[in-house]
Subunit: 128 residues, 2 copies
Amino acid sequence: MHLVVDGFGGDPQLLADEATVRTMLEEYPLRLGMSIIHPPAVVRYEGPVPEDWGYSGFVMIAESHIAVHTFPARGMVWVDVFSCRPFSPEAVLEDLKARFRLKELRVQELPRGLEYVTVSGTLREGRP
Amino acid sequence: MHLVVDGFGGDPQLLADEATVRTMLEEYPLRLGMSIIHPPAVVRYEGPVPEDWGYSGFVMIAESHIAVHTFPARGMVWVDVFSCRPFSPEAVLEDLKARFRLKELRVQELPRGLEYVTVSGTLREGRP
């Protein structure tokens, strides 16, 4: 499943804290039982629009990834949690809300990575 | 916009070619007018299910990202092209089809990153 979350009304200080972003990327794979294949990378972004500054981070896990982009001046965060393994969206959403003190979440659950192609070419639901 | 593409029936040799994956991550930001904030990272994955092996890659661009996961033994690829800037999904889909010789694409266009919050807290459509 690929969980896409846009969060609004968050705490600017938490969204501006690199450690908070990094800790999230370190903790999520463990909590969700995913194997890290590339360690978390976190980058500070500043662009032509000053209010767009923030931290962007990602961690690659077996066959999928987790990504986060914060916008402290806007109280916003964009998060992707994409995994081939099933996981509870509710637990992730609760955690995100608490971690950045978000007031509103816009959530999309994409039923992705839940089907696969056998080596003979047949499309199947579920995991091998 | 966040373009989510699951491709099927691709060429196993191209999907198994690290350079093809890396080149894609190098070319896309340039073509789509996005600024790279973390250079492409490409990792080979091998797990408990031998047919799941492949390359996973990621590039962070201003406020968003591009990700790719290939499954050569399954002829499959998962791609995310997420940008705050508008871009033509058609051009990306044509390129992906040709790059990996994909027979079938499952495409989802998420209208994400096209709204923003002003510093006073109002949610607006479009970009500042």
